[in-house]
């Protein structure tokens, strides 16, 4: 590996030397996020991707799991592809708090010197990762949509660093795709959105080690206490919806958005939105599709008044069929759409509703049956009730 060239003149912290200089085996670590004893999907997706990246390099995959009474979760992390699971089980870790969690990750990363440390880009992950990266003085890339391994040439020093983590993400409002590398600092850290990596199958026969950690907290780690926690079960089931009807900046008012809801209901689907619509207050944030929202792969995606910035497309481009409705004939969304409708969504959507109403009078029962099947077949995600549920909303 390359030599350390980073000058860390300021007071605390310091980059973590890479594992080769430490003499240990190189490893990809994945932060295993659990909430109330359930592991977040994104953590397992990352274990799966880490396995794929690690095998050609001969690296180990290590899960680091924090919580209280969570020992029982470790075997599943191994079954999904980890070689080793580090478990910090402690009452102070029962619920996520930045400083106690960061303490464990920082201490363990300094000790274990992973090459790569991956964190799910959940609200907690996006709170934790920068705190840890700052203390370790290492580079961090947010919200990656892809991870690969490759070589990077540094022109300034005319040297090539091999086998770096390519951290790939939309940038600049989603109008560019940037590949970011951290040539000289370790671990190479990245957060990754839920749903962009494939969920690995569990192989209960896989062998692996479970190692217990003893957290060494400091008094300052408890500066924050949680007084109340209200979990609002989201009724939005975007991730597994068979049909998503999404609105964007071209949807100007609540009435036009209500029409999208009606269309989604008729199709047994969910309402999605671009960030513009969320920011305009037309719909709650848990309906947001895209890089900073949910990633969806429905059979049909209807983009009503969504111009189609990469950030949004990152969350829906793999839809089987895309209908784009926009007044701007040059909207980027049209370039990935299967059906291109240049017009005002506020007029076109009611036409679709009318056409569907007329059809559904003929063959409504067939629809219901189809939706049931789809819901049952698509049991992988947490929201197994899937498509049929949406129709009831």
């Amino acid at each position: 590996m390359s030599e350390q060239t980073v000058n860390h003149a300021t007071s605390t912290g310091g980059p973590v030397p890479d594992a080769a200089t430490a003499g240990g085996p190189k490893a990809i670590w994945v932060f295993i996020e659990q909430v109330d004893g359930a592991i977040a999907d994104v953590s397992m997706e990352l274990v799966g991707r880490a396995r794929e990246l690690a095998d050609p390099l001969g690296y180990a995959v290590v899960g680091i799991l924090l919580g209280h009474e969570v020992n029982g979760l470790a075997p599943d992390v191994i079954a999904r592809g980890a070689d080793r699971v580090l478990v910090a089980d402690h009452p102070e870790l029962a619920h996520y708090r930045t400083l106690p969690y960061a303490r464990v990750l920082i201490d363990e990363a300094r000790r274990g010197r992973p090459e790569i440390l991956l964190v799910g880009a959940t609200p907690n992950g996006r709170d934790l990762a920068p705190r840890v990266a700052s203390a370790l003085r290492c580079g961090l890339t947010a919200d990656c949509t892809d991870l690969q391994i490759g070589d990077h040439h540094i022109r300034r020093d005319d040297r090539t660093v091999k086998n770096l983590l390519f951290q790939i993400r939309p940038a600049f409002g989603g109008n560019l795709i940037a590949t970011i590398v951290n040539p000289d600092t370790r671990p190479q850290m990245a957060t990754v959105r839920e749903g962009v990596m494939r969920m690995p199958d569990a192989d209960p026969t896989r062998a692996g080690e479970i190692e217990r950690l003893e957290p060494a907290f400091q008094p300052g780690d408890f500066a924050l206490e949680v007084l109340d926690r209200r979990r609002r079960e989201s009724t939005v089931r975007l991730k597994d919806a068979a049909v998503v009807v999404a609105g964007g900046a071209g949807i100007k008012d609540q009435a036009a958005f209500d029409a999208l809801r009606e269309l989604a209901n008729l199709l047994g689907g969910e309402v999605g939105a671009s960030r513009a619509a969320v920011d305009a207050g037309l719909i709650e944030r848990d309906h947001q599709v895209g890089q900073t929202g949910t990633t969806v792969r429905p059979r049909l995606y209807i983009a009503a008044g969504i111009s189609g910035a990469v950030q949004h497309r990152a969350g829906m481009a793999e839809s089987s069929k895309i209908i784009a409705i926009n007044t701007d004939p040059n909207a980027p969304m049209f370039q990935i759409a299967h059906y291109r409708i240049v017009g005002d969504a506020a007029k076109v959507v009611p036409m679709m509703i009318k056409a569907l109403r007329e059809r559904s009078a003929e063959d409504a029962p067939v629809w219901a049956a189809e939706d049931e099947e789809e819901g049952a077949a698509d049991g992988a995600g947490g929201a197994a009730t899937g498509a049929s549920e949406g129709a009831a909303r």
Binding site: T10, P15, A102, A133, G139, F172, N175, P332, Y339
Partner: protein
């Protein structure tokens, strides 16, 4: 201990290209982007952070200081901050800050906050719309050695050296109590930022950095000379202070491109894959035909 004394806040803000409103004229034919076609705006959630700081000042007294790191033209959002009610603004600008990733940015902000000295709260928007990383807030908190409270939607109480706040999460909310000083990142749903006040705008229309005096003079030729204008601005305490890397004691190797552990390996302009696209006219008949096709292909229904 009883109720708090005045609360001194520092608000970290950023001027960003308006990436939310990428119009088709900002996109060139080959799918690349014309950055200059995008206006520079006040990062939206930073306005929510400023508003939260102003409301805290209204309730508890104290001061609101706004800091930005950016090019000289970032002074525009500092003027805007003054007109909305900030007591004091500071521009960090230096060629050596350029090319900073989030870690190098957090070091510059840490040094600037330490130069400001006394503070109870640091506030920043949850994330900036040009990068969407949400990293600079937590990284700055870590550098300052203070706790962070991210995704703050409201402040319930500040008492006994602690702040009680509501955090907005994907699947619910959390009420937390944290010791001061700490850093809050604020979400867009927190409040509706007040507009710039007409009165303050009148009183502080000449607020400017020294680098802006020539253009200010062009707009106000009655001052005659730049010296006369500079004297007038200083007399009324309207000069926006500009701090360089040296002013904040930031070592060159820790800031800007030199202090950034992340490097760009490559950038791809987004060239959209062409799909078989069928154009459907926005007429009831054509829409009905499309719906019928979707049903027959078992895509819907």
């Amino acid at each position: 201990m009883t109720g708090p004394g005045p609360i001194d806040s520092v608000v970290l803000v950023k001027q960003v290209p308006d990436t939310h409103n990428v119009t088709s004229d900002a996109m060139t034919r080959d799918g690349t982007m014309n950055r200059n076609a995008l206006p520079a705006i006040f990062n939206p959630e930073d306005l929510n952070a400023l508003e939260m700081a102003l409301q805290i000042r209204e309730r508890h007294g104290g001061t609101v200081t706004v800091v930005t790191m950016g090019p000289p033209k970032a002074a525009n959002i500092l003027r805007d901050s003054l007109w909305r009610g900030a007591d004091r603004v500071i521009l960090l600008t230096d060629r050596r800050f350029a090319g900073a990733d989030t870690l190098a940015t957090s070091i510059a902000l840490q040094k600037a906050v330490e130069k400001i000295g006394r503070y109870d709260l640091i506030l920043a928007g949850r994330q900036a719309i040009d990068g969407d990383t949400a990293q600079v807030g937590p990284q700055t908190a870590e550098k300052l050695g203070i706790p962070q409270v991210t995704y703050v939607e409201s402040v319930l109480e500040i008492a006994d050296g602690r702040i009680t706040a509501v955090r907005a999460l994907d699947h619910g909310t959390e009420v937390v109590r944290c010791t001061l000083p700490c850093l809050l990142t604020v979400v867009g749903s927190a409040n509706t930022p007040r507009p710039p006040s007409a009165r303050r705008r009148m009183a502080q229309k000449l607020a400017a950095t020294p680098a802006e005096y020539p253009s200010l003079l062009a707009a106000w030729p009655e001052f005659g000379t730049q010296e006369a204008l500079a004297a007038y601005v200083r007399e009324r305490d309207l000069e926006i202070p500009v701090w360089s890397a040296d002013d904040i004691g930031a070592e060159a190797a820790t800031i800007g491109l030199a202090g950034s552990p992340t490097q760009v390996h490559k950038v791809n302009f987004v060239v959209l894959e062409s799909t078989e696209t069928r154009t459907v006219e926005p007429t009831p008949d054509a829409i009905a035909a499309m719906v019928s096709e979707l049903v027959h292909e078992y895509i819907v229904g």
